[in-house]
Subunit: 451 residues, 2 copies
């Protein structure tokens, strides 16, 4: 039997973990600086919490957990006889695995609302599971890193989240463009052209204009059932160009008749200008075709792209006005973002952006020459560790060559040798595995050098 893991899941080696932890630690540190505090929710949620929250397709992609014990005892014999998987599921599975961090967070807020301070700023870094068809860059288990503030409709939150995104990617060394849109602008456009049900077609069209030109876009819109009047009304929006400020001003004119559209433009204006004022390393862009989570977001929509790697969005988010309504707590507005750790990992790998000093291994390996030498080594290792230096002794009295090979292969940068000579002299021979140089040092000198 050759052992394996379920498709779409991954083992992470020690090297991969040191790199992943670098990403998670960076995000966690910045979340903390911005006043977001960590919570965790269980991997398993009641299926009643999860079902119906991600659309029909999402329901299918939920991993469901078989009830314990005699799970068929209460099942409908007719469904069993008919092998009706669909309707039997709810009778034999009560729990499912977390599909994202948003729905469990909404459940958390409602369940604990009397213990929480609002506005509640939380972050959460946990894996989620989806029974998607695995493919390159798409996994059945992956991490999400979410920060949300709930119970405040101030746009200051949006400005803060954009600064937070900027800070995370500046620390990671990834050059980014942050694209902004506002659901209310999209609502205004729909109002303007009288086709609110065609919003997705419209955003797809706006997205394609640069690639295929206005004529082809209009053809497509007609095929999708937009009336000639609607296509004509949309045309000025499709052809907006210029700087962010110019496009925003033009949008403001075009949506002048729509109250909700004007509100959306004002919100974009506020967020863009206040964020720019505070100074951002990222490029800020307005993208009216941005429609992620269309049925979910109600205000600001945020998407982040890496400038130097061709990959999908690496972070996204937005404002929602009714996250907790489905759990019985209506009227609570929130805004949040989600970092895609796995894609960020791919970007860092592609650009080789990991810091050189990333600790991927022990700092010093003490070679083991025998009982007496090992005893001295272990006493000195204790001092090393007390000084914060990661150190280990090769546990077996193996050939020198084998021990050096181990150090090399494990990427350990220093080897400490205590043989007969050093035992007598009370010293350590410290070998730099990169340069190959070695020197005789006392324990304290070695600690000074390595700490």
């Amino acid at each position: 039997m050759k052992p394996s893991i379920p498709k779409g899941t991954r083992d992470f080696s020690t090297l991969e973990m040191s790199r992943r932890n670098y990403i998670f630690d960076t995000i966690r540190t910045v979340f903390g600086l911005f006043g977001y505090r960590q919570i965790e929710t269980p991997a398993m949620e009641n299926l009643s919490t999860l079902m119906g929250k991600y659309g029909e397709e999402g329901d299918k992609l939920l991993f469901k957990i078989l009830n314990s014990g005699d799970f068929l005892a209460g099942a409908d014999p007719k469904l069993l006889q008919e092998a009706d998987s669909l309707h039997l599921t709810s009778q034999i599975a009560e729990k499912g695995l977390r599909y994202d961090l948003t729905v469990p967070f909404a459940r958390f807020v409602v369940q604990h609302r009397n213990e929480l301070q609002f506005p509640f700023k939380r972050f959460q870094i946990q894996p989620v599971w989806r029974a998607d068809r695995p493919q390159k860059g798409r996994y059945r288990e992956f991490y999400q890193c979410d920060a949300d503030v709930i119970g405040s409709d101030s746009l200051i939150n949006e400005v803060e989240l954009l600064q937070l995104i900027d800070e995370v990617f500046a620390r990671l060394g990834i050059s980014i463009t942050i694209k902004l849109n506002n659901r209310k602008v999209l609502a205004g456009i729909a109002e303007l052209i009288g086709s609110p049900d065609k919003l997705i077609d419209i955003t797809v069209a706006i997205d394609k204009i640069d690639k295929i030109g206005i004529d082809k876009v209009n053809e497509e819109l007609a095929e999708r059932g937009l009336s000639p009047e609607a296509i004509e009304a949309l045309s000025p929006i499709l052809t907006i160009s210029g700087s962010v400020e110019e496009r925003l001003a033009r949008l403001s004119e075009l949506l002048g008749q729509s109250e909700i559209g004007r509100l959306g433009v004002d919100e974009l204006q506020y967020v863009l200008s206040h964020t720019a004022e505070l100074g951002l390393r990222a490029t800020l862009d307005l993208d009216v075709s941005l429609a992620r989570g269309l049925n979910y977001y109600t205000g600001t929509i945020i998407e982040v792209k890496a400038n130097d790697v061709a990959i999908g969005s690496i972070t996204g988010g937005g404002r929602y006005d009714n996250l907790t309504g489905v759990f019985g707590l209506p009227g609570v507005s929130g805004v949040g973002i989600s970092f895609g750790a796995d894609r960020i990992y791919d970007v860092l790998n592609a650009l080789n952006l990991y810091p050189a000093e990333l600790a991927t291994a022990t700092k010093v390996l003490f070679v083991n020459f025998g009982a007496q030498e090992a005893a001295r080594s272990m006493a000195i290792i204790k001092q090393f560790r007390a000084a914060g230096i990661s150190a280990e002794i090769y546990p077996d009295e193996a050939k020198m060559k084998k021990q050096m090979t181990y150090a090399n292969a494990a990427g350990i940068p220093f080897v400490a040798i205590i043989g007969e000579t050093e035992l007598e002299a009370g010293t350590i021979t410290l070998k730099d595995m990169v340069s190959g140089t070695q020197e005789q040092l006392t324990a304290l000198q070695a600690i000074d050098k390595l700490a």
Copy 2:
């Protein structure tokens, strides 16, 4: 609908998370100092990896994941008609949730053996899931923190792990006793009395001797089917007393005829003396009744008890000679320990041992008095964060009292006030929420004070 979570699972609040992270960070740091490197394995494993590894009871306690799609399509109609849950399980569920970290680690080692350096020192901190009946202190989702070294039979590993345990609990401020035993000593005792199948009864008897006395213990042993000869042969072992050294010496005499028994005593001797030589803050004890994982451990057995709280073992481990054999890689010896994070959490809570400076909240809240004040505040917050100070602004222009109540309830230790006066003077009024004192400072002075 009142939202809830599956029984036996938990949400962790921001306060709980800061405390749990303190435990995990401490353990992780010490693991790193000792040269253990982190890996992660998927939450889901193939059931073929997990089944049969935890005994019949364990198989029942595995959470099994329903296959996606039409999971009944290939199911045996006869089993369906008979509602035979037991035999249907393997036809409708291929995956299960991780039950511990040990079996996935063994699978990992075998699967990746050509990429690993041996001896391989890894640590792993991840949740595990068991469909146990939930009760006080027993959860269906809980974290394990394991460190193992595999591919070395040197007893130096045992000495290092005892030092590691000592260091973790010293850092956490928990006074502990480390109990040691050796499976070979138990094998020697069984050999001595000619009842190898009664090993568990024997260890239970040894454990009870102090509480109920030798006569009652002998009665019990007779009831359990031990022959009068066996009981007589066991008697000198039951009555061993004195210091650790004295007990070890006596054990050595009594097991003189058993080769494996002598080997066990020698191993205990080595581990005890070498660990003591390096200096330990914990109390080291010999406990011949210690039998955890009897069918699993083959050498050293380790168990840790808190001295000041009545609670089960808070850490345990030992040496195993055939961890990977079941996956086709025989003859690889390893030794490992597992910290019980949830019980350690209970101990820290019971003794109130959390450090005072544990960051459970943002350091400074800036009060929001309106657009102009907020703009100035946000510019200064940016400087605070650049200096590593966690800071936030109350996003809404709410009443002062509401904002102060928020700071208080969230446990934020400092409030920064920028009103009209401060705006003109270019200062901040910084209020210490604990002492109630406040002072006028420039941004730089405030940073100096708080950083």
